[in-house]
Symmetry: C2
Amino acid sequence: MASTFRRLPHIAAEDEMGPSDTARYGDAERSGPAGPQGAYGPRTPASVLHLAANEELFGEQAPVDGFFKVVTGVVRTCRALSLGRRQIDAFHVPGDLFGFEMGDRRMLSAEAACAATVICYKYHPHKAVAANDEDMAQQVFAHALRNLARAQEHAVLLGRRTAIEKVAAFLVDWAANFPASETVLLAMTRQDIADYLGLTVETVSRTLAELQRGAFIELNTAREIALTNPTGLRSLAS
Amino acid sequence: MASTFRRLPHIAAEDEMGPSDTARYGDAERSGPAGPQGAYGPRTPASVLHLAANEELFGEQAPVDGFFKVVTGVVRTCRALSLGRRQIDAFHVPGDLFGFEMGDRRMLSAEAACAATVICYKYHPHKAVAANDEDMAQQVFAHALRNLARAQEHAVLLGRRTAIEKVAAFLVDWAANFPASETVLLAMTRQDIADYLGLTVETVSRTLAELQRGAFIELNTAREIALTNPTGLRSLAS
DNA sequence: CGATTGCTTGATACCTCTCAACCCAGGTGG
DNA sequence: CCACCTGGGTTGAGAGGTATCAAGCAATCG
């Protein structure tokens, strides 16, 4: 099922910073001043990684050895708390850059929500901006700002919204990955959704059932949902 | 009371990017290639603004005309929702940079939580990175990353914590503004705290009372709180 | 001194969590 | 092929935490 998702064209590889750019940043690193590229391990400056579902990309407290770009699949960044509580920070889809950190230790862990491939750019983000590679600095900065805007939006969702509003907003957001399609495919489990929205699995399940009763959505399978009333859904997300 | 807060030395002007830097960025802008400095209004490239308590610095949807640095006082960035609900994104203290945006419209509004002075840097953040002013680019990027980390931390707080944990964590965080002091001064109202933590005023008030009953804090006045058991408070914040 | 704003406290309602049982699909092995 | 097992999902009953509504108090300000 995860692999089904992975193969969907609209959720697969993007263009803006594709393989050519990959090579480009790799070159920039190699031709630049003596950087930290060898300091963290055997990976090449921009290497491709294949992740199985639920495979960990990096853990909390891991040393920061660069940032990442999703090529296919979905990666979740999250934070583990005491007593098995978990907060998912974001789901990263193809084209997204993630893994920016201020310090030299990860504050979040990253795992594949479903089978995924990512590119690892072995720059410390600060170095990226300092690297005199203006194009790269621009892109990194733009994506950092985008992640910031997302995190702020996420905080609003978590702080001031009811379960229905949260789930509706999540579906509306996620549906953006499926333009011109009425049905969306969820790449994540109910538990993932719950941990993203600050709810429990049960509440997510119940809320989806309620949205179905209200004719906003149709649960074709657990992972495939038709948005039968996207406008109404959007207004629920208020 | 707000002015009391404003005059506290440890919450007043900082150093890293003081008046000299202010002038510096102003010069950089003036001596650089024809920038957008005149495109947004009559302010100088880096001007100082004095704000009364609750005065609005910019509103949601306002055009983005630069970013800001807090010199004295506290600025809150927030988001208004339907039905009078409000989510405060962050409280910015002296030294903080805020107001970075991806697009050309503000996603958050900014108001002075108490009397405050800020410096307005009339760069669009993207331009700042592109401006060939490496030092500035570094600082802007570092602060953007810091705001990102904060927003992520905030999301954890909002999503997976109880009222006690939220309030305790807030007090611990805020106490960082008062090093080597047992008492902290709140620059914001209970309503502000509630809107920051995703609670109601009543719950904040009750929770503070409960923390006092548990001998974690002492409410000297409504705005002045002694942390009588900071270690315990920290463990509550888990 | 009255008016306003912010803060506290109480009683009650309601939403979400917790605990529990059950269902379903997929995979495995006899 | 079928029994079994497992992980993910759904549904129900009850408990608990926080919101809501309401009243009263305290400090500030004109």
